[in-house]
Structures are given as C-alpha cells and as structure tokens.
C-alpha cells in the first residue's frame, strides 16, 4: 500500500495529446476511478502508471519514489503493481491455480506457502471448485474472479483495473462491482480503476476523477461529483441533469429567458453565460401560481408523462420554450397538457463555471 502521485503527466501520440499535464494524487489505500468517455486518455494514463508506456513529460511517484519520468521508466515487472485487464488476459495454457500462483512463483516463495496462499485466496473468491480447470472452461464472471485473484495474491503496492467489467453481462457486472468494493474494503490496496460507466465508478470508488481530452475535469467523492459538479461536462456525465443557460444578474443569480434562478452553491464563470444544473428529481411540481412566478419558480405544460413504477418521468415545456426533465414520486400525478407550476429550489440549483 503506497501513495501514488502523478505530476504534470503528459503523453503524446504523434501530434495527438493523449494525456495533458495531468495531476492526481491517490492516497494510500484509496480507490480512485478514472471516469470518462472513450478516447479521454484514461487507459493511456493507466499504461503510464503501470510502466507499459513512457511519459513525454511529468513524473509518477510511488511511496515517494519516482518510477516514471521523461527518459527514466522503471519497467512494469519492477513496480510491484498488479493489473486486471479488460480481456481478463488469463493464460489459456495454465489452470486456474497455476494462473493465480504465477506471481508468487516469480517471487520464489516456498512451495508450501504458495499452495496455502493460493488455497486461501481461491476460497475467499469462491473459486475452489474450479482450481484445476482451464480458463476456457469458466464463465465470464469466474474468469474475472480468477483475474482478480491473480492480481491480489501478490499483495501489490498499487492495483490497476482497466475496464474490468465491460465484458460481463449486466447482472454479473452489478454483482462484481460490489465484489470489487468488498475486496477493497478487506485488503485496502491503493487502486486506480478505469471505467466509462458512471454507476460502476459510483459503487466502487472513494474518489472519482472525471477525465476529458487528456485532462482531469474534476476530482471528488461520488457524492461530491454528483451533488457539486463544477462543469457542465461533469454534471451531464454523472447522472442525467437539466442544464439552463442565461445571463448573470448577480453573484449567485441568473436570468434564464425570464426564469430567474438563485443558486446556493457553485460559482459562475466571471465572464460569459451563466450555466446552471439541476437534477430531474430535485424539481418540485405543484399548482401554477397566480400572477407572475417569483424567483426559482416557473410555469409549464406537461409534454410527456411516463409511469416508471417507483417514479414518474415528465417532460415540461416552459413558456420560454425551454424543456425540463423531471422525476417525481409516482404519487405526483399530472396529465398530458396540464398547466403546472414548478419549483427549482435554490439549494439544488448548482452554478457551473463552464
């Protein structure tokens, strides 16, 4: 377990910048997700950390020791890290037990110790019945657990996961998410988890680093990232949201085509448009107010109403033409084309810098 620090990390491929002066600190024992759309540089960042790629600028330190810098790269085999691969990368010519024991054999542990440690870990991972099977004889979820066991058994300083669940079906993915978090709570390895799936990142991570175009857009706890996004990209990427654009009328207040919105958190950019995010389930539905609506209140027409069981999903068209998505409890019933009043509570309106 070690602190991992990326400083000003940069990687080019030809003229393309894959990782752009990236700074990130992962405290010892923390699980940090790199979350972003494909092509945002998250996998390249992981390959830089693992030592499979050399940076063009900046440095990486593990427990205070530099492992990567321009021209100096400690090879992957001497980094004491482990990695889980998207393709699982289980060796088809070795049995489950041999796959898992591989890292320990490299460390020249006594045979008896290797055997007992493999047995204990396979037990923990519920893989004991499959010990003597070959990877091709296992289901996807079992293969994934073997991959995890193989990586965990060497007690790495840093654990790296590269989209580990993207090849699994939905149910299994759900289950493995919790499995990964459970194992992390148990072993507390310093972990980087690369994914493009926001709910995966929410379930597993201590901290989420949202990436875009080779840069980190925002780092924070899942709660932070969801409730206090700093940019439109982050607000949209994590969960669905309504984005409203308007003109700044004060430090924390903006006018969005007649709808005056006060925001209790966040900050606008000093210049340009004001951008505000409000989550669909934060908007309240009621009877239309008499007269002109006050601040953070609006009137609209129900354009679509969908019953989802636990909730109802509405699309409301405001007089200004703006459409808002709303998730309400299924008790809150509005009919198509009803004229209704909306409240956008200031404490849930988030001012965004860009």
């Amino acid at each position: 377990m070690s602190r991992l620090e990326l400083t000003n990390l940069t990687k080019h491929f030809g003229t393309q910048i894959a990782v752009d002066a990236l700074d990130l600190t992962v405290e010892s024992g923390q699980l940090v997700s790199l979350l972003g759309p494909s092509g945002c540089g998250k996998t390249t960042t992981l390959r830089l950390v693992s030592g499979f790629a050399a940076p063009d600028g900046g440095s990486i330190t593990v427990a205070g020791k530099q492992v990567s810098a321009t021209g100096i790269v400690v090879p992957p085999e001497r980094r004491e890290m482990s990695m889980i691969f998207q393709s699982y990368a289980l060796w088809p010519h070795l049995t489950v037990a041999e796959n898992v024991a591989y890292g320990l054999k490299l460390r020249r542990l006594p045979r008896a110790e290797i055997e007992s440690r493999v047995r204990v870990l396979l037990e923990t991972m519920q893989l004991t019945p499959y010990e003597q099977r070959y990877p091709a004889e296992l289901s996807g979820g079992q293969q994934q657990r073997v991959g995890l066991a193989r990586a965990l058994i060497v007690e790495p300083k840093i654990l790296l996961l590269d989209e580990p669940l993207s090849n699994l079906d939905a149910n299994l993915r759900e289950e493995m998410r919790h499995e990964i978090r459970r194992l992390h709570d148990r072993f507390h390895y310093t972990t980087i988890y690369v994914t493009h799936d926001q709910s995966e990142a929410m379930t597993t991570s201590d901290l989420i680093a949202v990436m875009k175009d080779g840069k980190i857009e925002q780092v924070g706890s899942p709660h932070d990232i969801y409730e206090r996004p700093q940019t439109e990209f982050v607000a949209r990427f994590i969960g669905s949201t309504n984005i409203l654009r308007g003109r700044r009328t004060g430090e924390h207040i903006a006018d969005c085509e007649g709808l005056s919105l006060a925001c209790e958190s966040g900050a606008f950019a000093p210049k340009g448009d004001a951008i505000i995010s409000i989550r669909p389930h934060r908007i309240l539905i009621g009877a239309p107010p008499a007269g002109t609506p006050g601040p953070n209140r609006a009137i609209g027409i129900v354009e679509r109403a969908v019953y989802l069981g636990a909730q109802r999903h509405y699309i409301i068209k405001l007089d200004s033409g703006t459409r808002l998505q709303i998730l309400a409890s299924s008790d809150v019933v509005a009919q198509l084309n009803d004229r209704i009043g909306l409240t956008l509570p200031a404490e849930h309106c988030r001012a965004l810098a860009r």
């Binding site: 085999e77 980094r79 691969f85 990368a89 088809p92 591989y102």
Partner: protein
C-alpha cells in the same frame, strides 16, 4: 503476510533501465544477427563493385544488360516465381479452408497428408518428376503410349518446360502456405463470422468479406514465401531447366562459378534479386500495415464448422486428387526407383533388387554424412527457432530501438540465393578472424542465415495473432521480458514454434545450393552426397538416400506435431 518479499523485490534491485538483463540479452541476439547477415552481405556488395583485381568499378552492373547473361534469366525467374506463388495459394487456401472450417470428412487425415509433403526435398521431387514425366522415359508418357496406342515419340506431358518447373515448385511450396492459412483459420474466433451472418451476410458473403480478409495476412505471407522460394531455388531448375536448355537466375549464377569462375559478376547478378525482395516486403507492409489483427483473446470458443451438405464427398475427392498428384505419386515413383536396377525396368518380383541399398551404404562416407546432417540439422533448428522467436518478439513489441532494422535483417537473406550466400560465406570464413571453412560451424552459420526468413515470418504472423495483454499480465506480476517470453508467450505459440523448428530442421537437411560450396570430404551432408550420385547418374542410389532423408524428416515432423498438439489440447479445453 509477506511484506519482506515485496521489499526485496524491486526496490533494492532497481537498476538503470539500460541495465535490464533481458534487454541486454535481446540486444546481443540482435548484434549476432546483424553480424550473421551483414558479413556475407558486405562481401556480396564488395564483390559486386570490384573487378577481378579488386579495383572499384561498375563494370559488373553494365554487363547485366546482356539478355543472355542476366535479363533473360531474370525475367524467366520472375515469371516462374509469380506462377509458383499463385498456384501455391490456389492449392493451399481452399484446402486450408476445407480442413479448418468445414465438415469435410477425414479432416485430420487430409491435414496429415499435406504435411507429409514437407518430407520430400524439392530437388528430390524434381528427380521424381523426371522419372514420371520426362518426355520419352517418363512413366506417365509410357503409360500414355500404351493406353492410347500413340507413336514411340508422342508424349502427354513434358516436365522439362517452364510450366513443368512451376508445377513441381508449387507442389513443394503450397504446404507452407497451407500451414499459415490453416493456423490462422484455426485461431480465428467464430463469433466474427457469426457477427457477419447475423447481420444478414450470406455464407459466401461472410467468407469473402470477413473470413478471407482475416486470413489475408497469412495468405500474403504465404504467397511471399512461395514466391521467394521459387526465385531462390537452385536444385529444381538445375535438374529441370538445364536439360530444357534455358537458365533461371540461380542456375545462371551457378554457371558463373564453373571454371573459370566469375564471382564478381555473380555478386552483381544477385543485387537485383535483393531489390525485388525488398520491394515485395515493403508492399506486404503497405497492404497489411493499417489493420490490427489481434485474434487470440483470453476467451476461446469451439470453431463453428460450415456444413458442406452434398458437396462433402466431392470436396474430399478434389482434396485427395490434389494431394495424390503433388505428394503421393512422386514418393511412390521414388520407392519404385529405389528397388529397380535400372529406371526403365518394369516393377515385378524378378526385377526388385537390394543393389541400390548396398551401393549407398557401401560408400565410406555415407554414415559420417548422415551423422553430420543430423547434428547440424538439430543445432541449426534449435538455435534458429530461438533467434526467430526473439526477433519476432522484438519486432511485435517494438521492444528495442532498431527493431525494424532487425526485422529487415531477418528477412533479407531470403533474397540471396543459397549459392551466392555460399560464396560469400566461403570468402568470409576462409580468412582471419573466422577460419571456419572445413568445419561444421560454417554450415551452421549458413543454415541459420538461410532459414531465418521463413522462421521469422511464420513467427511474426503468429505474434500478430497474440493479444499483448496476455504478456502484459505476466510482466506486471513481476516477470521480466525474457521470463514472460519463455513462460507465457512461447507456450501459447507452441504449435507455431514447433512448426518453425520443423521448417528449419527440414530446410537444413535438404539444403543443397549453399552446402555444395561449403562442404569438404569430412563435413559432407546427405544432400551433397545425393548431388554426387546425380552426377554419376545413379538414380536408384538417389532414391534410396532420398527415402532415408524423408524417413528422418517424417519422424521429426510427427514428433514435433505431438508436442504442439499436447499444448493445443491443454489450451483448448
């Protein structure tokens, strides 16, 4: 649990990156290869640019314009090589597809039969086809005259023609293409074909648009191997073209070494061959460069076989016909010749004799020759395979600077006819600091150089099909490059590695054109002994020695296939 392990590993052993022991070993291999190839190439260049007195001159190249010396044989050579490449692919690809992807009966048997074709050295095949299809004495023509009652000089086929040479060469080149194509088809995950089928692609459309493009790298590599083999082969044209009264480049160059030798001119003749090869290799890169063919994943699945329906047995018959004509018939005629006192005798209990066997094994050198052949073959195959694996690895993983140059060096010897390489080695190793002439070492160096290109190309194709994550997983767990190569990559490529070893071994024990210039009476090899017998017209003796050579080869092939299959069973479960 074991923090001490984590601490001793790495932190205290942290060396500068350039001191990485794997990289040093890999670097040394690179240097050795450079030496292996550059030394004879250097001599080739020096000789082509100097006259008999050693003075610098372009005179040799001016002489190439002479159609009788160079231009005529050069064009003939290219035409024949192209024909061989096309015919070899035309034979190999449908067979590979039948055997690997359809429910044709006897698939394993067909595969095995095609592999037996490797057993016959091409020059022995040429002798067999002389026995079969010479215009007058050829058995086919004799039976033709008997069956159709034609006149004494009428003939059905004549092997002493360009078409005959193309046919004989392709018969012995197509198994190489077959192996590459079949291996690729075996490894191709069926879901890619299913994906096409599900999108509405007909079977033919899928074959054409998905399967075929996926096999294309192996196919082109196969075409190249067949083409280059035909271009650089000496034995077959020496046996078939010279009696027909025309030259290909190799026989022309060989004739330049007859008294009085014109080695400088011969070196100049070899340069255009080298250029053609470079162009071919470049165009292969250009054709294949932009696609990533990563096909072995962590997941494998049983291949889905195409049902041929009523075409199952016609397909089997067609495959058997091809195999019987190219593989079985020549070997039968050799067996026949080994038992008869004279070739034109009919085959009956009265005429069968042990004379040929007695003659061959009565020769003083026969036993030493066999020993030499086996020793050099085993060492060259083992070393050559190790080098080819390392270089293919360096190239596939771009592991060291200059990997492209290494790749070029490994493929370049294919462009040098064995006979020219033989001369270069002769000059290079008869003077200090490496006086190796008269020892088996010079033969070992020759074979390593000659066999590097096919070995390297086959392994390179195999590496392209291996998901790099399998190796990354080993390295991140603490294995160095070399350790990952031996414990992960090599076992996964076991069948390709075994096939490569076979290629090199067989190539070595049948090599003639370089060997003939590099052996002495103490270091004679079987192929040279056969050549000596040919000079004396002892066709029966050739047949006996040829069969011995083929028996050795067969044993090696079967053994290597066993090893490869053990690996496949484990991996495919």
């Amino acid at each position: 649990m074991s923090i001490s392990v984590a601490d001793t590993h790495g932190a205290t052993r942290r060396l500068p990156a350039w001191l990485d022991p794997s990289l040093i070993i890999l670097g040394l291999v690179g240097l050795f290869l450079a030496f292996l190839v550059l030394l004879p190439f250097g001599w080739l260049a020096v000789f082509s640019l100097t006259d008999e007195q050693g003075t610098f001159s372009f005179e040799n190249f001016y002489e190439l314009a002479d159609p009788a010396l160079f231009l005529g044989p050069f064009i003939t050579t290219l035409g024949i090589a192209f024909g061989v490449g096309i015919l070899a692919c035309a034979l190999a690809v449908p067979l590979a597809w039948l055997v690997s992807r359809t429910d044709v009966p006897l698939r394993r048997t067909l595969r095995g039969l095609i592999m037996t074709s490797f057993i016959t050295p091409p020059f022995l095949g040429a002798v067999a086809w002389v026995l079969l299809a010479a215009p007058n004495s050829g058995l086919i023509n004799q039976y033709y005259r008997i069956i159709f009652g034609a006149g004494p000089y009428d003939r059905f086929v004549n092997i002493f023609t360009a078409e005959g040479i193309i046919f004989v060469m392709a018969s012995y080149a197509f198994p190489y293409v077959f192996v590459l194509a079949a291996n690729t088809l075996d490894r191709m995950p069926h879901d890619m074909e299913e994906a096409s089928a599900i999108l509405g692609g007909s079977r033919w459309h899928t074959l054409r648009r998905v399967t075929f493009p996926m096999v294309l790298p192996a196919l082109l590599a196969g075409f190249l191997i067949a083409f280059l083999q035909a271009m650089t082969q000496f034995g077959t044209p020496a046996i078939l073209a010279l009696p027909a009264g025309f030259h290909v480049l190799t026989t022309k160059i060989w004739s330049l070494f007859q008294f009085p030798p014109k080695t400088h001119l011969a070196a100049a003749c070899a340069i255009p061959l080298l250029l053609v090869t470079i162009v071919l290799l470049r165009s292969e890169k250009w054709l294949l460069g932009r696609r990533g063919f990563t096909m072995i994943g962590g997941k494998t699945g049983a291949p889905q076989l195409t049902a041929l329906g009523i075409w199952r047995y016609p397909a089997l018959l067609a495959a058997l016909f091809v195999i019987i004509v190219t593989v079985v018939l020549p070997n039968l005629v050799l067996i026949r010749a080994s038992m008869l006192r004279t070739v034109s005798d009919s085959w009956s209990l009265d005429t069968i004799t042990w004379d040929n066997v007695r003659l061959v094994f009565g020769l003083t050198h026969t036993w030493t020759t066999l020993e030499n052949t086996l020793l050099v073959g085993l060492v060259a195959a083992s070393l050559g395979t190790v080098f080819a694996v390392l270089i293919a690895y360096l190239n596939a993983r771009r592991a060291v600077p200059g990997h492209r140059f290494l790749s070029f060096l490994a493929t370049a010897p294919a462009a040098v006819p064995g006979i020219v390489l033989g001369v270069a080695l002769f000059i290079g190793y008869t003077r200090p600091p490496f006086q190796l002439y008269g020892t088996l070492w010079i033969l070992l160096l020759a074979f390593l150089t000659i066999e590097m290109p096919p070995a390297y190309q086959q392994l390179q194709a195999a590496f392209r099909g291996l998901n790099p994550e399998l190796e990354d997983a080993s390295r991140i767990l603490g294995a160095g490059r070399l350790k990952s190569l031996t414990s992960i990559v090599a076992p996964l490529l076991k069948s390709s590695v075994a096939a490569t070893w076979c290629f090199v071994f067989i190539g070595t024990i049948r090599e003639l054109s370089a060997t003939i210039l590099l052996t002495t009476s103490n270091t004679k090899l079987v192929s040279v002994l056969i050549y000596d017998l040919n000079e004396n017209g002892e066709l029966g003796g050739i047949a006996v020695l040829g069969l011995v050579l083929m028996a050795i080869t067969a044993i090696v092939v079967i053994a290597a296939n066993r090893i490869a299959n053990v690996g496949n069973v484990a991996a495919g479960r």
